[in-house]
């Protein structure tokens, strides 16, 4: 996988993860182009796109678009399932996730993504294992936060 983007129906970027080294300018250009193309597509259309020499696989969940870029020889369907698994993970973690969860806790979304995909490849496909790893790290974090006045609850907003 080359990169993953999450953006809202209004075209606002919510999360971006790049697995190939690109300059900031290039990243911005790609993001702009892709958001435009994907938003312009009708709901009944195919979830795959050919874009430059890459394949774009996207899927919409509520108001959020999840969009991955893969190479030509990769499998499109499994990429769709990767997206779905990620959404499942978010859902389990946040408890019926919504766009706001990702806006206000996007660092958590990143942590989960890093635990699930590493360097563009699926790292751990067992849902249980991913969440366990996140929880362990969170636990450590919360212990320290409590010393500072138990802010974890407030942070969720």
């Amino acid at each position: 996988m080359q990169f993953m983007l999450l953006f809202s129906r209004q075209g606002k970027l919510r999360l971006q993860k790049w697995y190939v080294p690109l300059s900031d300018k290039e990243k911005k250009k790609i993001t702009r182009e892709l958001v435009q193309t994907v938003l312009a597509r009708k709901p009944k259309m195919c979830s795959f796109l050919e874009w430059r020499d890459l394949k774009i696989v996207y899927k919409r969940y509520a108001s959020l678009y999840f969009c991955c870029a893969i190479e030509d020889q990769d499998n499109e369907l499994i990429t769709l399932e990767i997206i779905h698994r990620y959404v499942e993970l978010l859902d389990k973690y946040f408890g019926s996730v919504c766009e706001l969860d990702i806006i206000f806790n996007f660092e958590k979304a990143y942590f989960i993504l890093d635990e699930f995909l590493l360097g563009g490849e699926a790292q751990e496909t067992s849902k249980k294992n991913v969440l366990k790893a996140i929880e362990q790290a969170d636990l450590l974090q919360e212990n320290q936060s409590e010393d500072w006045g138990g802010l974890a609850a407030e942070e969720v907003l």
């Binding site: 606002k12 970027l13 919510r14 971006q16 993860k17 790049w18 190939v20 080294p21 690109l22 300059s23 290039e26 911005k28 790609i30 009944k44 259309m45 195919c46 979830s47 795959f48 796109l49 050919e50 430059r52 020499d53 499998n75 499109e76 369907l77 499994i78 769709l80 399932e81 698994r85 806006i103 206000f104 996007f106 660092e107 990143y110 942590f111 890093d114 590493l118 360097g119 490849e121 699926a122 790292q123 751990e124 496909t125 067992s126 849902k127 249980k128 294992n129 790893a133 362990q136 790290a137 450590l140 974090q141 320290q144 936060s145 010393d147 500072w148 006045g149 802010l151 407030e154 942070e155």
Partner: protein
């Protein structure tokens, strides 16, 4: 930069201390500030206000606070510059608590890219954390290492990461494996020594670690499948276990066991089993199992099915599996879900080259997809059609592609598709000339200035050099002139520059063909083009060049000079030169008549170009003497440049634009590859261009490519039919097949008359042409179809003779005597008359030799041939071969004899060669055409039958086998000599000093041993000529003086003189 770092470093401890005293308060205010920031930024509309907000956030407090970094990440994501916080992110990862470290690492991995300077500051932190006893810290360090890490710093952390492979926690082991995978990607040679440890990871008891190790194996096996064949068994076993549900339920995804793992394994198996029958056989069972298990109607099962299909079609084919796979493709294509339909088309595109019948089965679906509302589906359908294009349906398919192009806006698609259309238009003998011109016009106007520059170049070359008959060439050019003249009458402002250039070139070169058209008219029309301000200077040059060609008449000259005069003081040098040249041409009548002879078709063909640029030799040596640097060819310069780049630590060249250009280059064959490489691949796109790349070949060369395809092959096929008694079975098979196709045609329920028509025009000629597949379906013999552009070409001779053997056994063949079947493989064909051939000494060898002539096909009987050589023999089969030197081919007659007493079954014989290429449309019958590619090709093969294990043999073909005399006159010789660029000179010692006429003797020896043609002997000099069977000439010049023979060889092919010289040397020594 270092200043900033230093300052921050000194300031921070103090800040940290002051924070620690009142952490709660700081945290509180920072956190709520994040929330408000997010809210306020979300409400913003203008970017400027946002930047103000992002810029001076919280004074000194900002630097150490975790949520502030989260803020920075957020700002950066929204597109605001937050580079000032990068250094603090690194500080945070370095010095913060676990909590802060986590955010720090995240920020670093999001902010920085692999070659960012600041990353060097991170190395120490990572080292420290890798050694930490806290698992979470180790995890974080490994995570960041496998995301971004500078290439040069890998050796520093490598031993630590390696250690982690034996860690007790599986999560650490898994992350370590992935970190190594990342290292392997960016610096493969640095992890070479740990390949053993990868094997240990593969055998890890935790499925997660094992899955992670497969990423590495996939890459490794992709690079060298040979070295990992021994692992096939393990991969198959793992897959069996996974498919059988032996993994923990955790790894299930929608009740499918570990789909990601299955996919990886299937991909690896595909790589391992490719072109390897033995390895493939190991995996048939598990693939069958996977196909069977994947029955639940869910995306994930389809994903696995798709991967399974690809594997089945990649490995050595097995008919049962192929049948099942074909059914699965049906599931995809006929699915109402659009995503599955898309993948179905993709799968069809992948397999259709091997089995076009599949496309026939789904033709109605394909037609529907052509009119689909989603352009992506349409695009994929066109890709599929592109693969099944043949001479009969090319016009319909091209029309569909052009329709799509007219609606498409995407530049990348346009470039790609325009290239494909142009390739098809040039590759296939077009139905009628005007179609070709119209198609090319459409390509130029649609492709405009974004298309590959070789498209117009190839087109112009085709026009200039012509290919069929003179009359047709003339017609084609006239059509082009006509269409361009009418185009110039309309508004030209919308036409792309490239198109204008093509127009002006064609008009300049060929407008004289149109009777009644005054050159002055053309000049005037071209002149109008120049009035347009939007036209570039490059195009202006083309227009002026065209005008100079038209200056034959004084009227035209007058007009052209008037136009050119404007540009004689132009700032652009190229344009000014063109204008000045035109003026000069106008003044000098002699020069004009010499340079512009009237009405010579294809004038450029007659030009003698000294491609070795020998007239510059003096200039070059002078310059070198003055200390100039020697010339380096562009590729060498580029190499050196890239080497320098490595030293400069430039960013990795992995960015998108690079991959774009690389991709587009491979997509289309570049013109240089066509003209320079000596490969005569069987690709039918080449011939007209190939002929053009070497002008001299055009003469005296028999036409090989006609409108119906490859001519000699067809003849040969027919001959084989007529002569070989064994092939009588074949026609009936073919008939049966075509009948069965007829029935598939008719059973399809027709919904729409138009669609049916379209279908019949699209899929015409698909079935009958692809004979290998027919054989497979009829006789159940596995045939590996030859793959385009594959390095090693292999053919299974499961042809008529094999069927004959198996068929005849069922009729209980009399077990007396030897069953012999002649297998003739024709090697290349293109000839240039007849000359004296060297007679190879023929000795009678065993009984076989004596009745050989009766076994050879009638056409080969009278020809010179080599001895029959036994290549291999086993218990029941013996295989011998002899080379027959036909004038335009090397025919290899292969004799298979049954030396046992019983009948034999299922004979299969496989011949392959690294250096010989096999044309794509290879006949099923026993005639195969090889094209000479390398200069010393070796044939390797194996033969097997039911009662005997596979035996392999090899047969070396020498260059001499392909040399034929080239009859030339001394004048022709002289002309050719000058035009060839590759030469070799050497003095050879003549051993027999006592001979009176040394030259005569040497020449005779060469003539006899190497089949050379002696063109002329003048005094102490002799000239000889020969050619390869493919028609490429080589000229020799011999000169004797004092017991030495000075040989000078010249040829248009680079290696030929060298190789031939070696054989000359041998011939002279053996004399």
């Amino acid at each position: 930069m270092s200043d900033v770092v230093e300052k921050t470093l000194t300031a921070l401890p103090g800040l940290l201390l002051s924070l620690d005293s009142q952490p709660g308060a700081a945290k509180l205010c920072a956190t709520s500030r994040l929330g408000s920031l997010v809210r306020s930024i979300t409400e913003l509309t203008s970017k400027n206000v946002g930047e103000e907000m992002a810029e001076p956030p919280a004074g000194p407090l900002f630097h150490t606070e975790k949520p502030c970094h989260v803020r920075a990440i957020y700002c950066e994501m929204l597109g605001y510059e937050a580079s000032f916080s990068y250094i603090h992110a690194i500080k945070l990862a370095q010095q913060g608590s676990v909590l802060e470290k986590r955010v720090g690492y995240l920020a670093v991995s999001l902010f920085l890219h692999e070659s960012h300077d600041l990353l060097l500051l991170l190395v120490n932190t990572v080292l420290k954390d890798l050694q930490s006893t806290n698992l979470i810290e180790v995890c974080m360090a490994l995570t960041v290492v496998s995301q971004i890490f500078p290439k040069d710093m890998i050796p520093a952390v490598l031993p630590l990461v390696e250690d982690k492979l034996t860690h007790s926690k599986e999560i650490i082991r898994r992350k370590a494996v992935l970190a190594l995978y990342k290292f392997y990607l960016i610096a493969p040679n640095q992890v070479q020594h740990i390949h053993d440890k990868f094997r240990k990871a593969l055998c890890d008891k935790d499925p997660g670690v094992m899955t992670a190790s497969l990423h590495i194996y996939l890459k490794l096996i992709k690079e060298s499948p040979e070295s990992y064949k021994d692992l096939t068994d393990s991969f198959v076993t793992i897959l069996k276990q996974v498919v059988g549900g032996k993994l923990p339920v955790d790894f299930n995804y929608h009740s499918v066991p570990a789909p990601w793992l299955q996919m990886q394994l299937l991909r690896i198996l595909a790589l391992l089993g490719k072109e390897d029958q033995r390895t493939s056989e190991m995996m048939y069972e598990v693939l069958d199992e996977s196909l069977r298990r994947a029955e639940i109607n869910h995306n994930i099962t389809y994903a696995i099915l798709y991967e399974c299909l690809k594997t089945i079609y990649t490995i050595h084919p097995k008919s049962e599996l192929l049948e099942k796979a074909a059914k699965c493709i049906g599931k995809f294509v006929l699915s109402p879900k659009i995503n599955l339909k898309y993948l179905g088309l993709k799968a069809l595109t992948y397999v259709v080259q091997q089995d076009p019948n599949l496309a026939l089965q789904h033709q109605m679906t394909i037609i529907e997809c052509l009119d689909h509302s989603d352009p992506i589906i349409k695009r994929e359908t066109l890709e599929l059609l592109y693969r099944i294009t043949n001479g009969q349906n090319v016009s319909v398919i091209v029309e569909k592609m052009l329709d799509f192009l007219r609606l498409s806006k995407d530049e990348y698609t346009t470039i790609d598709l325009v290239g494909k259309v142009a390739e098809l238009a040039e590759k296939y003998p077009f139905p009628y000339n005007s179609w070709f011109i119209q198609t090319m016009n459409a390509i130029f106007s649609i492709g405009g200035d974004v298309m590959q520059p070789d498209i117009p170049n190839n087109f112009l070359r085709l026009l200039a050099e012509g290919f069929d008959s003179d009359e047709e060439d003339r017609q084609l050019r006239l059509l082009a002139v006509d269409s361009y003249l009418s185009l110039l009458e309309c508004d030209t402002s919308g036409l792309p520059q490239r198109f204008l250039q093509v127009i002006s070139w064609v008009l300049g070169e060929f407008s004289f063909l149109k009777e009644g058209l005054e050159p002055a008219d053309v000049v005037e029309r071209l002149g109008k083009l120049l009035d347009d301000d939007a036209i570039t200077t490059e195009t202006r040059c083309w227009v002026l060049a065209a005008m100079s060609k038209l200056c034959g008449s004084s009227d035209a000259l007058c007009k052209a000079e008037k136009v050119a005069h404007k540009y004689t003081s132009c700032l652009d040098t190229a344009l000014r030169q063109q204008a000045v040249e035109l003026e000069l041409l106008g003044r000098d009548v002699d020069l004009r008549t010499r340079v512009l002879p009237q009405h010579v078709i294809g004038f450029c063909v007659w030009l003698q170009v000294d491609s070795s640029l020998s007239f510059l030799d003096g200039f070059v040596s002078d310059a070198l003497a003055r200390g100039a640097a020697p010339y380096k060819p562009p590729h060498q310069r580029q190499e050196e440049l890239s080497q320098e780049k490595i030293l400069n630590f430039e960013p990795y060249g992995l960015s998108l634009p690079v991959s774009l250009s690389a991709c587009s280059l491979t997509d289309r064959q570049s013109p240089t590859a066509l003209s320079l490489s000596s490969s005569l691949s069987g690709n039918s796109a080449d011939p007209p261009l190939k002929a053009g790349s070497n002008l001299l070949k055009l003469e005296g060369v028999k036409r090989v490519w006609g409108k119906q395809g490859y001519l000699p092959e067809k003849q040969a096929t027919e001959e084989a039919l007529a002569q070989e008694p064994s092939s009588i079975f074949a026609p009936s098979h073919q008939q049966a097949c075509s009948e069965s196709q007829q029935t598939t045609f008719s059973t399809i329920v027709e919904q729409d008359q138009e669609k049916r028509q379209l279908a019949s025009s699209l899929f015409v000629g698909l079935g009958s042409q692809n004979a290998p597949c027919l054989v497979r379906t009829v006789s159940q013999m596995s045939v590996k179809p030859t793959q385009k552009r594959s390095k090693t070409t292999s053919i299974h001779l499961t042809s008529a003779f094999a069927q004959n053997l198996s068929d005849s056994t069922s009729e209980a063949v009399p077990a007396v005597g030897n069953t012999e079947v002649v297998e003739a493989s024709e090697v290349s064909s293109l000839s240039g008359g007849s000359g004296p051939l060297a007679q190879p000494s023929s000795q009678v060898e065993r009984g076989l030799e004596s009745d050989l002539p009766s076994r050879l096909p009638a056409t080969l009987v009278g020809l010179l041939r080599s001895d029959v050589e036994e290549l291999c023999s086993g218990e029941s089969l013996s295989l011998s071969a002899c080379k027959v030197f036909d004038a335009d081919a090397l025919v290899l007659a292969i004799f298979l004899s049954n030396i046992s007493d019983s009948s034999i079954q299922e004979v299969s014989c496989l011949i392959s060669s690294e250096q010989l290429k096999v044309p794509e449309m290879c006949s099923t019958f026993s005639v195969l055409s090889f094209y000479l590619n390398g200069l010393n090709p070796q044939l390797e093969g194996s033969v097997s039958c039911a009662s005997q294990a596979t035996q392999s043999f090899s047969l070396t073909l020498s260059l001499v086998d392909f040399i034929r005399p080239l009859p030339l006159t001394t004048e022709e010789y002289g002309k050719m000599w000058l035009s060839f660029s590759h030469d070799v000179k050497q003095n050879l010692m003549l051993l027999k000093h006592e001979e009176e006429d040394q030259l005569e003797a040497a020449l005779t020896a060469l003539k006899e041993k190497l089949c050379l043609h002696i063109v002329d002997v003048i005094g102490a000099e002799g000239i000889m000529a020969c050619q390869l069977v493919s028609g490429r000439p080589c000229l020799l010049h011999c000169h004797t003086h004092g017991g030495m023979l000075a040989i000078w060889l010249r040829s248009p092919i680079a290696d030929l003189p060298d190789c031939l010289l070696y054989h000359c040397q041998k011939a002279i020594q053996e004399r």
